[in-house]
């Protein structure tokens, strides 16, 4: 074993993490980020690296109840932490998942899990957020495809489902409307596929 390999071996430390309810004992190198451990070591590839420097939110996970950027967290510092990733949120059938599908909140989809994690953390602490509160919570999540307006609708609806204001089943049906999307067709005197309305 070379000196550097020895150094790496010496540096390995075992940490304990609870990820999506499952306990893990993981040997980690001190420079490994939490994102690297989740995606590369545990195969939870929903935790995505986009900017790799804390600027985009794609790697968001919930650590001890708080949304954190896992690309900026060293795994070794998370010893004993309780972590929730998008996979755990999906497995728990959180209404955000259905709402995100219904409102087509994704295009390329690379950033989508990070949005869902941040939104979950928001709804955990604020079950009835205003649009401004949603924007404020989500402003650190970047989407290059520009899907932002859809997230506002989805998060609002998921919050309603969680509060019992609307039924989960009705949330699953395809969205009938978006803002004024049929105006042109109507103005042209044609039957449009969608109906007008919106929120």
């Amino acid at each position: 074993m070379s000196s550097v390999e020895q150094a790496r071996a010496v540096a390995l430390d075992v940490i304990g993490l609870t990820v999506n309810g499952e306990p893990y004992q993981l040997p980690v190198e001190p420079q490994w980020t939490l994102q690297y451990v989740l995606a590369d070591k545990l195969g939870l590839t929903g935790t995505k690296e986009f900017c790799a420097e804390g600027a985009c939110g794609a790697c968001s996970v919930i650590l001890d109840g708080r949304a954190v950027l896992s690309c900026m967290a060293l795994a070794i510092e998370c010893d004993g932490g309780v972590i929730e990733t998008v996979e755990g949120i999906a497995r728990a059938n959180h209404p955000l998942i259905d709402a995100y599908v219904k409102y087509s909140c994704m295009q390329c989809g690379f950033c989508t899990p990070g949005f869902i994690v941040t939104a979950k953390a928001l709804l955990d602490r604020n079950p009835d957020p205003t649009l401004d509160e949603i924007k404020e919570a989500m402003v650190g999540n970047l989407c290059r495809c520009g899907t932002y307006p859809a997230h506002l609708r989805a998060i609002t609806e998921a919050a309603k489902v969680l509060r019992g204001v609307v039924e989960a089943d009705s949330a699953k049906t395809p969205a009938p409307t978006l803002v004024n999307s049929a105006i042109g067709a109507r103005a042209a005197g044609m039957a449009a596929g969608g109906t007008e309305g919106g929120e």
């Binding site: 070379s2 550097v4 390999e5 790496r8 420079q31 590369d40 590839t45 995505k48 986009f50 900017c51 790799a52 420097e53 600027a55 985009c56 998008v86 996979e87 999906a90 955000l96 998942i97 995100y100 599908v101 087509s104 909140c105 994704m106 295009q107 390329c108 989809g109 690379f110 950033c111 989508t112 899990p113 869902i116 924007k135 404020e136 402003v139 650190g140 970047l142 290059r144 495809c145 520009g146 899907t147 932002y148 307006p149 859809a150 997230h151 506002l152 395809p174 969205a175 009938p176 803002v179 004024n180 105006i183 042109g184 067709a185 103005a187 042209a188 044609m190 449009a192 596929g193 969608g194």
Partner: protein, 823 residues
Amino acid sequence: MSDRKKMKVDQTEQMLESFDNKIADPHQLAEYNVIGKRVLRTDGLEKATGSARYTIDIQLPGMLHARLLTSPYPHASIKSMDTSAAERLPGVRCVLRYDDPELQVGVATGGHELNAELPLPSAVHFEGEECGAFVVADTEAIAEDALKLIKVEWDQRPFVLDEVAAIEPGAPISEPRKFPDSNISTIYNEVHGDVEKGFAEADKVVEFKWSFGYNTWVGPERPCGVWRWNGDFAECWVKQQRPHIAKRAISTWFGGIPMSKIDLHCPYQGASFGGWSQMSWNLGGTYLAAVASKRTGRPVKWAFNRREDFYGGNMDSGTFYVKVGFKLDGTITAVSQRGITVNQDLPVFGIVAHLIENTKIPHVAGRTEAARVNKGPTVPTRCEMNINCYTVDLVFNHVADALGMDPVEIALLNDGAEGHDIDWLNGKKAEIGFPVRDSLRECVTAGKAAIGWDEKRHAPGTKKLPNGKMHGLAFTWTHEWDDSAGSSEIAIQFERNDGSVTIMSCRADVGVNAETAYCQIAADELGVPFEWVRFKHQEDTGFFAMTPDTSTNLSINGWAVKHAARILKQRLLEEAVAPRAKTQLAEYPPAFPGLEPDDLDVKDGFIYEKADPSHKMSIADFVGPSGAQGPITGTAGEPFFTSTEEGLAYPLRGTPPLFESGWHLQRGCYLGVRLRFCRQAYFMEVEVDTETGHVDIQKVVTVNDVGKVINWDGCEGQAYGGAIMAIGRGMTEEIVWDPRTGVMLNGNLLNYKIPTMMDYGDIETIMVETQMGYGPYGSIGIGEDVATVLPALIGPAVQNAIGVWIDDFPITPARVLKALGKA
């Protein structure tokens, strides 16, 4: 002629109908079940749950990780390189060097066509260019550490960054190997009419200069690739919008790999907006991974880091000089424009094309001088039509401002095509079977109402709001360009057991939700529930669909899906009335004896007799199970059946595979090929803080004549998503280089600002459906439009607010303050 042969003829005829299709779609459906309705996107759950896999996510047993050395200088070559320390670093398994005997020949490494690039060059022409060494290690971090241990002696050369300076006499030659004599790689002239005559006819002439900074795509997934050798089979995962071009290039490697021995996977794409996939050398890393994989016997993944993705940029950056002549009533008589573009390899798209294709302006001239500078390669990003769209926007708004007229009226007055007016264009619509609709008028009518145009419009610099900011309102327009050249192959089949439908064709999913639209088309054409249909696009099945660029998702692939589905449905009906399998023991009668195919139809997954809809059979029953598909002979020689269906005297077995293919070949909508009839219009409302120079986008209205909406979420997503991207491109996004060192200064998401959820105002997306598109059902693609047209509108909107033109994009607070004389 047999039925089978008839079907083949039909397929060719269908293709011919739509090749250069100067006719409206002759095969409209009587009833749309899911087309034009809102359906759940087919990839939604996968992407929402984090289970969607991208190339960067691929992990294979024993996989190694590779990184490329990059140049710290904008123009240099390697004199010598010492990789010994890197090779000694534990965990490093292989280092490929530029002087490796196997890497001395150019190989096809991507781009639009097969090229021959050195996979690991020793000379560089921009800071950050990949060169010299490819380090393969157990982890990406070790490979990165190893790069730092490489010692290079560089031969630095003079460089030039500014495109205008680059074409001055005596400027340093930026890329002497390719362009030894000059920094102008191409000059492209567009001439329509006689501009001097047009200027002589004008009452007034306006001249202005504008510029467009270097912006980039910022694809969330880093460029990357994975290679594994399985014996003599090659297996690779590509982040590529164009997997078919990638496979073609790969098949030329190593003396030739048979196409049949290449297993190509094209997982979900973390978006590239054209960008990286259009670039030559985009497969360079994959080639090197293949070499390293052969040497190490292990799979190899290579990847750029985030900064490295920033080096490539939009091909439409440049400096432009415009002259416009017009009558006092707003009729434009002539436009000429000279453009100096940055590293543009594809100047064929022109800079005044939209004025020719889209207006009655009789005299138009453009001259593109493609300058080469020591910045990264530029390629179409979202679309290559930025300059054309900026030109339309600035020409019409400058004319309106000079005349004090409403720019909407100027647009309507000059609408037309190729120098002809709208009446001529309307005649053409009628000739080829389209509805005669005034697309632009419909678009502006809807858009004006949505933004409150007539109530809110005011003279430039005259409306101060109670919050102290200046209010601005602006409008722009163009036609729906939808280049739509290319070919598409689609395979489609009914699955055994349940009759569900699989569409197969390898195609990159970049997120525009076209796959859902294809499933909608197939479902309605076949008469099956939408939920039965899946587009399997990530695997190489030998069929390749057109790439998700040039707005061709619907106008090419949509046709191919439609053709394939129509042929498959015809085949289903023919088989339904034909005798079924014949064995030595028995011949089985038709499922619908005594009827002709035309007597039948399909709805909700049932084949039924039109005259008696209660006489029906599910497609699942008709296709039968997989596995035992015929009678099994018992020990006594008598046949017995694994099941029998109620009411039928014979078992439902013995149908042939119900698999068909469709294809489509199209030359596109370029000038001289097809006139374009659909228009798009955009309105923007801003507030400008004259103390800080900050521009707040209050409202954007996008109006797109999409011909016919197939998928609402897809259309709207492209519209509002494009609007948000446009706000970034028009206001904040520009790559900055240090003029002293030629080093990129903001290649990261902290310093290159793309829009966040708080950076846009209300966005209203309006779809107009005139059915005047050349795509199936009169549709047309809009994926490139909004993000390409809308950034330029910020200029006129700010001018309307502060009364001063800013024609240099992006329109940053610093530029606003400078225009106001405050900086």
